[in-house]
Every structure is written in C-alpha cells, then in structure tokens.
Amino acid sequence: MLITLIRRELLDNLMTFRFAAATLITLLLVVANTAVLIKDFDRRLASYNTAVKTHRQQLRETKTYSAGKIVVDRPPNPLSIFNVGVDKRLGNQIEVSYAFVPTLWDAEMSGSDNPFLNIFNSIDIVFIFEVVLSLMALIFAYDALAGERERGTLRLVLTHPLSRGHILIAKYIGAMLCLLIPLMLSLLLSLILLTTTSSFSLGTSDFLRIGGLVISSLAYLSVFYLIGLLISAATQRTGTALMLSMFVWGFLVLVYPNMILAMTHSSEHLKPRAESALNQMKQMWDEFDRERKHFLANDPVSGEAIYFNVEWTTGADCYDSEYSAEDASTFLYYYQVEMQMESFEKESEPNVSYVQDYFRFLCPRTINMAEQTWLVRKPALEDRFIQPATVDRLLLKLSPTGLYDAATQAWAGTDLPGVQDFFDAARQYRQTVIDYFIDNKAFEVRQWFTADKKPVDWRTLPQFSFQRVDVGANAKRALPDVCLLLITNLALFMAIFLIFQKSEV
C-alpha cells in the first residue's frame, strides 16, 4: 500500500509543470555557471603556476642567503567550484622568513588583475542549490496536504486502512525522489564538465568529498521540503500555505543571513586583551632593538651602519636593506636584513668578519624574537579576527541555509580551517627552512650577505609542498553541521506528524 502511495505521489509530482520548469532552470543555471566557474578556476590555476615559477626563478637568481625571498603560494582548491568559501578571497602567497612566523594576515594576493571586480559578488554551485532547490522544495510542499484537503482527496485517502504516518512518509519519499532528479542531474552534468576539463585532476578523495556535498544537499533539500510540509499541514488553505512558505523562504534564504551579520558589530577598537598583547609584543620588540643597538654601539667600527664600512664595488645587485615592520592591526613586528654584495674593495676584507659577527649574533635572536612574539601574537590574532568570525558563523547556522553553507564549505575544504591548513604548512616549512639554514651554517658564513666567493646554491633547499587534508578531516569538520541538519529534519518531521495526527479532515 505504501508503495502505491509513493508511486501516486511520484507520478503526481513528475507530471507537473513546476517539476519540468524547475529542473530545466536548475540544469541551465548549474551548467552555465559550471562553465564560467571552470574558466575562472583555470585562470586562477594558471596564475598560481606562474607565481610559483616566478618565485622559484627569483630565489634561484638570489646570490646570498639573507636576500633569498622564499615565497610559497597557495594553490586554488578545485572544489571551490562547488563552494568558494574564503578560498578566493584570502591571501594566496606568503613569505616564509626566519624573521617572523607567517600567518593568514601577512599573506598577499597575487593574480588578481583587476581589484575593482571585487565589487561584484560571485556565485558557486552550492549557492544555486541554496536558492533554487529550497524554493523548489517549498513549491512542491505547500499544497501537499493543504491541497488535498481543499480538493477533498485527503478524506478519500484516509478512508483506507492506512495510518497517517504512512501517508506522510509516502508523501515525503515521493517528493524527495522527485527533487533528487534535478539535483543529481545537474551535479552529474557539472561533474562531466569538470572531468572533461584537463586542468581538473579529481582524485578518489575528491569524489568522496563531493559525495559529502551531495549528502549535505539532500539534508538541506529535505529540511526545506519539511518546512513546506509543516506549513501545509498547519494551514487550511493552499493560498495561505503558499504565502507563508514564500515569506519563510525569503526570510531564511535572503534576509536572515544578511540581517544577522549586519547586526553583529565589528568594532575597529582593540579589546583590552589585544591591547595588552600589543604592549607585550612592543616590549619584546624594544628589548630586541636595544640589544641590537647595544651590539652595534660596542663594535670596533664606528657608526650604526650594519655593513661596517665594507665598501662594495658598484656592480649588479649590490644592495643592502634593513626593514622593520610594525603593524598594529595585525600585531606584526619583525626585523629583517637583506644584503647582497657581489664584490667589495680589497681594503674592506678585515671588516667582513665584523659583519659575520653581527649576523651570527643577530639571526638566532631574530628567530628567537619571532618565536616569542608568536606565542603572544597567536592568541591576539584569534581574539581579534577568529573570534568575531566564529560568532558570525554560529549565528548564520541558525538558518538551515547557513548550516548547509558551512557543511559544504567544510566538505570542499574552502572554509577558514581549510585555508588555515595551508598556513600551518607554511609555518612548518619555515621550520624546515630554518633547520636548513642552521645545517648549512647560513647565518655564519659569508654567503649570508656576500657572493664574492660563491653564490648560494638554492637547489638543496627542500621544496615546499602543500597537500589538502584527507577526507577524514574534512568529514570531521563537516559532521557537526550535517548532524544538525539531520536533527532539524527529524524535529520537523515529528512536528508535522503531531500536527497531522491531530488535524481534522
């Protein structure tokens, strides 16, 4: 009997105009946008590849250790096609220097040719599902019970020896099967497009992630169908059910996310804790600076110049630059010297050892200072940036749309933790670089600042490689949100069941 009911529901839904129209629109939108997004991804990948090549080239051309600028690039995430998250927006290249611990907030953006284009908002496939599929689910649901009641067929169905729960389940399964068709078809088409594009190399784990995306999409779809069913069960007339559904949809999908984030205030002022962190770092910084100046003052060469009167002969690539950065908004303090002398006057040779002494003294202290400030900086950054963002994301999750968005971002690895993974890798790589420097005694040898004998051979430097976390980690991040979606489903179903049980025909 249940099967008969499901079949009836399915046929009823499949033969309607709304099914055809909605499927067509979803397919069109998804396919058109996938094509556009693939093109966009190709562009990003190309610019990533060029950036990697240029950075390697630049490093190889550097002749001293201190002038070597090791920059690592964040590859674009291929699954950003499904949900772009923060993948495209946050910095994608970071300098790995012994002088400071790299974070997301020190990163720069390469490859965006036109910053003005940021004023337009961009979309991804999940956004299409968010908007269209939820609308579709509501359109399918609003007259499921109210319509039958109006037409009087509900009375007819209930005359059969069937429990009301069965009727609900039949309706739910029938409609969900129907809604699955546009979802699966469009995903399939976009996957076909993806796999036929040469720049995409999707592995097994990527398909597992996409599987996770599909499950989240199903749960999301089901939430909206159940919301529609709830409204339909609670109202007497289809007209009322329709209006309520549409307004609920508008509120949950369009209005709520934007309204709630407008309400949360992000103050420009630092909190006292951040303020104290800043002071602490400033003290460390002053201490470091004092030590450095003290060393310079007590050395045998007069003046505070760090090249100790080594007179280099003019030629290509002879420069020295020292810079210290103080950026209060991202709590960054560091001091770095770049020196690259090709050759110098014979008379200066005795002074070279002073320079060596200086760097032997300075570099380990710089590293030490970087480590120490990092201990203070990390919680300060969390306080200032991560915490408000977490609160925002939590508030967004009060709407199923926000939950769905968060879950799919976690599956795709384009959420904040996914991007942070890269910077964790960059921090690890910094340790590797420092170890490499220490192994090669880079801070003590002449090659730290001069290439008069032999330029540095950068080929022995270990390469940076970044692998996205495995599916398990993605699943762990996504699971809470998916579970919440499922719980919402259950709660809604219970509510509908209760209302429908008690309703009079």
């Binding site: 105009f17 709304r18 129209a21 909605a22 629109i25 939108l29 058109a32 946008n33 556009v36 997004l37 093109k39 966009d40 240029t54 923060v86 927006r89 946050l90 997301l104 720069e108 953006m109 490859g111 040719d113 036109n114 910053p115 003005f116 284009l117 940021n118 004023i119 337009f120 908002n121 961009s122 979309i123 299409i128 908007v131 269209v132 609308l135 359109i139 209006m243 309520l244 549409m246 307004f247 508008g250 509120f251 369009l254 209005v255 996310p257 934007n258 309204m259 984030l261 407008a262 309400m263 908004s329 991202t330 940036f385 991560i386 408000p388 963002a389 925002d392 994301r393 967004l396 904040l416």
Partner: protein, 461 residues
C-alpha cells in the same frame, strides 16, 4: 472606473496575510538598515574628518616651495556619502583615498617628484568574517520588494479566472484596459503603502538621531531613489500581471514568476559578471605594471646619465619621471575601469542590476561615484601643479627651473595660498550618468505593461 477596481484590489490586499507579512518584513529590514547605518556612518565621518585634517595640517606646515612641489599634497580622501544606507555599492572594496604623494627616490641631492598613485590593494584581505550583502535600500528594493510584488500579482488575473469572478467583471461595460490598469494600480498601491511606511520610519530614525544632517539636495536624491524603487516595483507588477494573464492556473503562474525572478534577480547579475569579465580584454597585471614602470625609469635615468647633471637636465629628468609614472598609473587604471564598465554594461540585462546602479548613482556611492572622485583628484592635481609653477613664476629672484632645489623660489609660501582638495557630490552629474539607465528601466516597464495589455485583451474567459 479605474479607481473603483484599484480600490477593490487595495481593500482585498489590505486584509490579506501577504500584506501583513510584507509589512513586517519591510519594517524589520528598514529598521535594521537605519540602526546599522547610524552606527557605521559616525565612525566613517569621524575617520574622514581626521584624515582630511591630517592632510591639511601636513600640507600647510610646509612653507618651502621645493618641498611642496616635491612631496605633493599627500593622501586625498573620498568624502563618504550620507546616503550610503540607500546603496552600499561595493564601497568596502573601493579605495577611499588616492595617494598624491607617492614614490620617493633619492639620487644624491636629486629627489623624485610626486605623482598620483591609485591603490590597487584589496582591503578585505585580513577579514575572515563571512561574506555578507549589506542590507541597503538597494537590497530591500532589488530582492525583497520585487519578490513581494510578484507574490501580490501572480494570481490577480488567473485567480479571478479560477474563481469565476473575471467573467463577472468583464460582463460590466468596462473596457479591458481599464480593468488591467485598475489591477496594476491596486497592486502598486498595496505595495506602496508598506514600503512608504517602512521608508518613512527608516528616514525618521535616521534624521531623529541628529547625527546625520541631510541637506535639500540629499532629500531630492532620496525622492528620486524612492521613485526609482517604485518604478522597479512597477516592473515586477507588470511582469506578474503578464504571467497571470497568459497562464491558466495561479500555481503555474507562480512557478514561472519565481523561476524568472530567481534567474534575473539572483543569478544573471553574478553569472554575467564572470562571463563578461572573461570576454573583455584583461588589464595589465600588477607585475607587468611594475616592470613597465621600472623599464621607464631605467631608460630615463640612462638618458640623464648621458646628459650629465646640469640643472636643466636634472629638472627635465625629474619632471619627465613624475609624468611618466603618472601616465602609467593612469593607463593601468583606465584599463581596469574599461573592464568594469564593460561588465556593468553586460549586467544591465537584469533589471535588478539596473536598479542597483541607479540607486548607487543617486546615493552617491559605488563605482560611478568613485570615478567622480578620481576626476576630482585629477583636477586638483592639475591645480596643485599649476599653483607650484605660478608661485615660482611670481618670484622674480627664482631661476624658474622646477625640479631642483636651487632652481626654485626660496620665498616661504603662505599656507592660505595652497589649494585645498574638496571632494564633492553633484546631483546634476549623477543625473547625467544615470539618465540612460533610468530611461532603460522606464522603457522596460512600459514594454512589459503593453505586453500585459495585449495578452489581457486577447484573453478568453
């Protein structure tokens, strides 16, 4: 007779659930808009004022003409529009200043001169909070009001047909166009009432706070913005009437309308941006830009090296260097602007994008406003350079060689004579910019209404 029908429609709607829901939704949105705006606007104004004062203090503290000519006026700031609550216009992504004092190099006693540099950084790089569309009037009108308009009209003809009352109305000696016009007016008025109420409360909250002074011009702008929003609502009402006339059942009409709405309002603007930006010629990358800049400088300094450091060649070098740098920045900027203009032209297919641009223009925010600001900056830069030359010329003791210290007037410059940068909004110019968009929107609404009329005339009951 039109009024009769319109009144009936209005009364019908006033009692309906959708009217109540629409009113609540619009009121909530407008109140959010006002409170958020008040909070942010004060900070913005404060920041602008301190920046401008800083700029002016630094500039007037210089009395040496050479220093003034070499360092330039410094950062020039964009005046924030008090009507930002009407349209955010992506202001967060647009730079609020231009560096008119960029690039110093020193070569012995010779120093590089200032030139205009347009910041190209994305200021959003350290922000890890989730992306969000600001709730401005543009959002409220563009998304919410249009959806409400569709919900009010999807069954206005087909519903009557289903109930059989359409036959009754058409039996009266009323021409069909009167019936349609009455329906249109009725729907418009039913949306007009909650929208106007919400707008008035919004404006009341904003002006009652006393923190924002809106001048006469601003009120004119608000009137225009309001009218544009109403016109845009008219577009969706006409669309709703058209669909409702053409199709037999209300349910079908609603599905068609909602899907059209989703496509045109939500998706077309974003999708077309990506497509159009792919098709338009890409501007030079920043690497390319820097390379060309360096090449130019190398070439120029090579020439200077050959000519030797006579005062005249020094002056020539310095002026040409600044000019060349500025020309390159300008070229870079022009290419970027051309791409954005192309994209904006393409997205005008969607009425939602069209109305967004219109609101931006009249609210004095967004891209057009940014272009105006850049124009103001350029005009001021010219003025400033002329001022330096004129002051130098006025001094008979000066050798009149701009660019080197010994070649310029040594007389102290009085702070009053230095031109001051004033960034201002002009309604006339905004109107000119928006005229075509406005005409386009009106035209689209008219065409849709004619279409709906034709469909209704031929309708069989």
């Amino acid at each position: 007779m039109i009024w009769h029908i319109a009144k009936r429609e209005l009364y019908d709607n006033l009692n309906s659930l959708r009217f109540a829901l629409a009113t609540v939704l619009l009121l909530a949105l407008m109140l959010t808009n006002a409170t958020v705006y008040l909070r942010e606007h004060l900070e913005r104004i404060q920041k602008y004022r301190t920046s401008v004062t800083d700029y002016w203090n630094v500039l007037t503290s210089r009395t040496d003409l050479y220093e003034l000519a070499q360092k330039g006026p410094g950062f020039l700031y964009k005046q924030p529009s008090p009507l930002r609550f009407c349209a955010e216009g992506g202001e967060a992504f647009l730079s609020d200043r231009v560096d008119a004092g960029a690039f110093y190099w020193e070569w012995g006693d010779l120093k590089g001169f200032w030139s205009l540099a347009y910041p190209s950084s994305t200021p959003n790089l350290i922000n890890v909070r989730p992306d969000v569309t600001k709730i401005d009037w543009g959002f409220i009108a563009g998304y919410v009001l249009s959806l409400i308009a569709l919900l009010f009209t999807f069954d206005s003809i087909s519903g009557e047909r289903e109930r059989g009352t359409l036959r009754l109305i058409l039996a009266t000696p009323m021409p069909r166009h009167t019936v349609l016009a009455g329906k249109f007016l009725g729907a418009l008025m039913s949306i007009f009432v909650p929208f106007t109420l919400a707008v008035l409360i919004n404006l009341f909250v904003i002006s009652a706070s006393g923190d924002v002074q809106l001048g006469t011009e601003m009120w004119w702008r608000l009137c225009i913005i309001f009218l544009v929003a109403v016109l845009y609502t008219g577009f969706f009402i006409a669309l709703g009437l058209l669909a409702s006339t053409r199709v037999q059942g209300s349910a079908v009409s609603l599905v068609i309308l909602l899907l059209t709405w989703v496509t045109f309002v939500v998706f077309i603007p974003s999708t077309l941006v990506s497509i159009a930006s792919g098709f338009s010629p890409a501007p030079m990358t920043s690497d390319e830009f820097w390379e060309r800049k360096n090449q130019f400088y190398d070439k120029l300094s090579g020439e200077y090296y050959i000519r030797g450091d006579k005062p005249l060649s020094k002056s020539d070098f310095v002026t040409k260097d600044a000019e060349g740098r500025e020309r390159l920045s300008q070229e870079h900027l022009t290419q970027q602007i051309a791409q954005v203009e192309f994209v904006r032209a393409a997205t005008r297919i969607s009425p939602a994008a069209l109305v967004q641009y219109l609101l931006e223009s009249f609210a004095g925010t967004g891209f057009n406003r940014h272009l105006q600001f850049l124009e103001n900056v350029k005009r001021y830069a010219r003025q400033y350079r002329e001022f330096v030359i004129d002051t130098d010329r006025a001094d008979p003791d000066s050798p009149h060689i701009i660019g080197v210290r010994e070649g310029m007037s040594r007389k102290p410059v009085s702070p009053e004579s230095i031109p001051r940068f004033e960034d201002s909004l002009s309604l006339g110019r905004d109107f000119n910019d928006a005229a075509i968009d406005l005409m386009l929107l009106t035209l689209v609404v008219l065409v849709l209404m004619c279409d709906a009329y034709l469909a209704f005339v031929r309708v069989q009951v």
